[in-house]
């Protein structure tokens, strides 16, 4: 158990051991998803499904932890598996090289304890929220844009995204600002802390509230939804 020594005593031995029995589905393996998978794997979450149909491009190198110059052109979901073999071979990565949508979403998500929203577009986030609700799976949402980001934890019935993207807006500020190296890492870290608490049923989660992150002014607002 030496690998997990530094997880103790923050987590009990029993909690550490329970982590290997959970199945988490990470939808999107880009900026957020790469870091989320990395951190879930190092925590020892036993089974992680990594969903992404894209291959790595040069423009990903500024922020996506799964990318490097040797994997340009390779599938992101497959690279998640390759990297985890080196990071923590105890963890099983189930790569799904598909575009998550209303047709395949239920099949992909079924059987998981929790889903992580690491998508890069608002439209598909709503599809993910709908399917999680149908399958009764909690969802940890994260999104980034430039200096900014947000995290919330959505239980079936909460429908937090309906409030977060009020006018059913199609695009966020990231289309203008792009994304740097640090907001994905920051937002992913907060998402993983939420995943851990939901799975172990302890601590306080961002339920019916969103943490809105502004690294430009270093303002962090918890907003009730």
């Amino acid at each position: 158990m030496g690998r997990y020594d530094r997880n103790m005593n923050m987590l009990s031995r029993e909690e550490n051991e329970r982590l290997r029995n959970f199945k988490v589905c990470v939808v999107g393996c880009g900026g957020l998803g790469g870091y989320v998978i990395e951190m879930l794997g190092r925590l020892g979450i036993g089974y992680i499904t990594a969903v992404d149909m894209d291959v790595f491009e040069e423009t990903n190198l500024n922020r996506q932890i799964l990318s490097n110059v040797n994997v340009i052109g390779k599938y992101k979901a497959m690279e998640a598996k390759e990297r985890m073999k080196l990071v923590n071979p105890d963890v099983f990565i189930n790569p799904v090289v598909e575009k998550f949508d209303i047709e395949n979403g239920e099949r992909i998500l079924k059987g998981h304890d929790l889903a992580v929203d690491a998508l890069d577009n608002i439209e598909t986030r709503f599809v993910l929220q709908d399917i999680c609700e149908k399958l009764n799976i909690p969802l940890v949402h994260g999104a980034i844009g430039g200096w900014f980001g947000q995290v919330t934890t959505i239980f079936p019935g909460d429908r937090a995204l309906d409030v977060l993207y009020k006018q059913k807006v199609k695009k966020g500020i990231e289309k203008e600002l792009g994304n740097p190296s640090f907001t994905p890492a920051l937002v992913a870290s907060i998402q993983v802390s939420e995943v851990l608490k939901v799975l172990l049923n302890r601590g306080e989660v961002l339920r019916k509230e969103v943490l809105y992150i502004d690294t430009y002014s270093q303002e962090y607002h918890k907003i009730k939804l």
Binding site: Y165, G172, I223, K224, L225
Partner: protein
Amino acid sequence: MIKVKLFATLREGRQKEVVFDYFDGITGKYIIDMLDIKEDDVAIYLINGIDGKINDKLKDGDVVSIFPPVGGG
């Protein structure tokens, strides 16, 4: 008086806080039009910290908070 708090990119070219004189019938829609904010740039819209709609009539003393959409990953 209506206090309007702007967040993230909505502060560019504007102040963090803007004050409007209250008049009967003033709405968030009027405010965002006056501030030249597009409706699509309004994701979270709060009246006194509670989820509201931009067409809701405001009361004297209300505080409006507006956050733009963040959707990248």
